[in-house]
Point group: C2
């Protein structure tokens, strides 16, 4: 492979990704993500669209300092009837503090006729002088050929005329976009091949959407046909079905092909972190089944698979999970054989012999708990406590005698409807009955505060622990009995530890208490606390 | 295209899909899904693995009656050292009441050496006589060539020897599996092409996993190279990153290629329903961004896109959503221009003129609500109520004067820790103050029951309404203020209507009350109820 084969990565999470349903980045989100993408080693980061909304304006007024990547601002060709110099959109674009610009223009005659309603030849001129103006003013100008593949299929001459106008006007990259996402890999490969006879592949980019589930394959097909810039988004964020998942594209090109890329082996290990960071900023549960970086991407559930993986991971893993910063995961479930559960125990540091008589009890306990609705998949801390309790390793740090939680919504003296939550807890700690009361921001918060108040004197390390996430799910009753509520609570401390615990009950407050109880117990156990004795 | 080009669809949701983390089908789930797959028109339904677990045994004792599809049972080649006649696994397989069987065997020398530890040639014989035995006893026998692509890359002669043994022994189909999911589309196309020189394409199947995000593209590549059976699962269910999403494969082949398939245009319209049915049985939120059938697959958020789609949907849609039973969706969001909001209103039957002075107020209200944390994306009923309230169309059916909810956990006389929830509600209905109290299965349930008790006399239609789902999410505070809780409640009535409402507050009980309030109001409004007047 020659230097002409170097593939450049262009991340559009902050611009095209922001078009997704339910996504609303703050300026702080954008800065954090741009810095992470820069560290990862992508070549271009498209930060947004200056002039389109206040968030993007604020972002481009003080863009983050990047070490590797170029920051790109996105905008449109000039309007018909204006010169590029007098177009307010282009002015906003060129006045931003970006390192380069990406100008989007149409290449499908149908769109020029219908959406713009202007003469087709006039629009080719608009592309040419918009790109020429930008190329003369910005560090680097590229052209996004919107709907290129649909346009090429409808009218190849016109579509080519549009992209050649951009190329001749000085666009560093002409990016062929499958905007509606309906093109299939073999079509992409054929059409990119045909275009590269007119514009060198080293100047061609590809931008795919996942409407047929082929966005990653389409991107790879374009690279095979000669394109050397790939656009995509983290986790395939983007409107409708999303953009090409840049993480899958990066991992595949870096690990499974010989194309030179700008991301080192060390940087590749950040892929899992960067993927989860995006979900964290969006406050979403990461999709477990995401290629390469999902929590289940290297999970093994079937008993036969697990024993083979224990012998040699290559039996059921296409790459080593560590290469992308991910890890192997042995799933505990109703289908689990003993080998799964043993492997899972080893993972958390419990070494049990296959013949150990305690093993059968533990397997039974896991199955009984899962039958009740406990899900240990995402609640490692509760799983560990369950196992260690069965082995008699976890002290009972405190006992609950009673709690009472009250929520009251009423009109106050100022004529406002207000709600107050108050919890009373009676605990047995260090041989004494302690009764505390607290007001909270909701019943679970009140309960949490009252419980800590009761414990903090004896266990001061609980000062350093916060509830950071709380999730509730109703489990559909299978047998017509009452519905069961499952609560997952994530806690964190100042040492950067995060742990998740689970509680199950027909009553949400009960389930929450159970999860809180495990959360506190895990912190104390992990720090080697002893159960406090009588006074 | 000739009849040799007919592509057969093989669904493995109930067998390979059941390997996913967090999936545990009941017998009733399997029956319901098999019936839906049969109606959809797939050619084969793999129901499970007889002898592997009690669920699959029970399913195959009384498999559902199918109209089109063949029911397939999955099993393994005989063990070394046993004849096929005396192998208990093969007996369980062949005694099941399936229409055919699929026998999995190894084709990668590394697995034969490591996992089986037997002579390679001996294993070829095992494949041959297992398949021959099954072909003689079952209606149809096929062979799943596990790890075929990894095996072929490592030792093509041995991999071919294995599949040719199965073919010569009478396998109707030889299914080439990319078990570890690491093979790329161009490799699949080349290797399937090479195999089809030895075994006719009309006897070759393909089974892909999504570990690089290319499972759908790999399946299509195999069809291009000659394979005529495609295996996959609904929504790409399956271990690790999942199997090929059969829904995307079906829609793509049926709508975008000329290969004849056994699914009619009318049956194709069931794709969205079948996809959601699976998630319903698994009690999962359907992934919005799923190709073809996701709720966002035809969603339009950006203002420019929305106005173009309003002119002609082909501008931003690769197919008509109705072809797969899906629908267009105009998203209301912070980024929304007026055209989005107007289109969204039209969708729910509110016709407002673009110049209407009420429009600006409504747009402001939507934005203010979203800023507070309301998400109308998934809560259509609350969106409609918000809009109609702003237009003065929704009566206030009742007013809340006060509620109080109490949860009490304590030891009862029998020495058990029990929890009780009790809610007291004071409402103004029909000009009177009504005070009610109820016990519930948790605080929200108690509140719901007390509220209905207060209203049911005046609004008897509320008898026909149930809370069917309840979801809670904590919104990460952006500015360090208190966290906000968002509750979504799904209600249903006997007329098959489902509606979702949303409530937001710093207090979970408050947020739940707000969502309940909207849920009840929507039911009353939708049935044309008038606000009850004094006495």
């Amino acid at each position: 492979m020659s230097s002409d084969d170097r593939v450049y990565f262009f991340d559009s999470t902050l611009r095209d990704g922001a078009q997704s349903q339910g996504v609303d980045f703050t300026v702080a989100d954008k800065r954090t993500l741009a810095e992470a993408l820069d560290k990862l080693g992508v070549d271009y980061i498209e930060g947004g669209w200056p002039g389109a909304n206040p968030t993007d304006d604020a972002f481009f007024q003080a863009p983050p300092r990047l070490e590797n990547a170029r920051m790109i601002a996105f905008g449109m060709t000039r309007r018909a009837g204006r010169s590029p110099e007098n177009d307010p959109g282009m002015a906003a674009l060129l006045n931003s503090r970006a390192d380069g610009v990406c100008i989007v223009g149409k290449t499908w005659d149908f769109h020029v006729d219908l959406a713009l309603g202007i003469d087709r030849q006039e629009y080719v001129d608009i592309i040419a002088d918009s790109v020429a103006h930008a190329a003369g003013r910005a560090g680097e100008a590229m052209f996004d050929a919107e709907h290129f593949f649909d346009g090429y299929k409808a009218n190849p001459d016109y579509a080519l005329q549009c992209v050649e106008a951009a190329y001749n006007a000085g666009a560093r990259w002409v990016v062929l976009c499958d905007t509606n996402g309906g093109t299939l890999p073999d079509e992409i490969e054929r059409i990119v091949g045909e275009v590269s006879a007119r514009i060198p592949g080293t100047r061609l980019g590809i931008h795919c959407h996942d409407d047929t589930g082929n966005a990653v394959a389409n991107s790879l097909a374009a690279v095979r046909a000669g394109a050397r810039q790939v656009q995509g988004t983290l986790n395939g964020l983007g409107e409708r079905c999303g953009n090409a998942n840049l993480i899958s594209v990066i991992a595949t090109l870096a690990l499974k092909t010989d194309y030179p890329v700008g991301i080192s082996r060390d940087q590749l290990k950040q892929l899992t972190h960067v993927s989860r960071l995006l979900d964290e900023r969006l406050n979403r549960q990461p999709a477990r089944n995401t290629p390469y970086v999902g929590e289940s991407a290297f999970a093994h559930k079937g008993g036969l698979h697990v024993s083979a993986v224990e012998k040699d991971p290559r039996t059921y893993e296409h790459i080593e999970p560590e290469l992308v910063g991910n890890r192997r995961h042995i799933v505990v479930s109703d289908q689990s054989g003993r080998s799964n559960i043993l492997a899972r125990f080893r993972e958390i540091g419990i070494d049990l012999d296959g013949d150990d008589p305690q093993l059968a009890t533990l397997v039974e306990r896991v199955k009984a708990r899962e039958f009740e609705g406990y899900a240990y998949d995402g609640a490692e801390a509760s799983f560990e406590l369950m196992a260690r309790r069965a082995l008699g390793q976890v002290p009972e740090y405190f006992g609950l005698s009673r709690f009472r939680v009250m929520d009251d919504r009423r009109w106050n003296a100022r004529g406002e409807l207000v709600t107050e939550s108050e919890a009373t807890v009676t605990c047995e700690v260090a041989g004494r009955d302690v009764m505390t009361v607290a007001n909270g921001n909701g019943p679970v918060n009140a309960l949490d505060l009252a419980l800590r108040k009761a414990l903090i004197e004896v266990y001061p390390q609980l000062e350093d622990m916060d509830l950071v996430d709380y999730k509730v799910r109703i489990l559909t009753p299978q047998a017509g009995t009452g519905a069961v509520t499952r609560v997952m609570i994530e806690s964190a401390d100042s040492q950067g530890r995060h742990w998740t615990t689970v509680g199950v009950s027909t009553n949400i407050i009960d389930a929450s208490f159970n999860a809180l109880h495990d959360g506190i117990t895990w912190k104390l156990y992990r720090e080697g606390a002893q159960a406090a004795k009588d006074g």
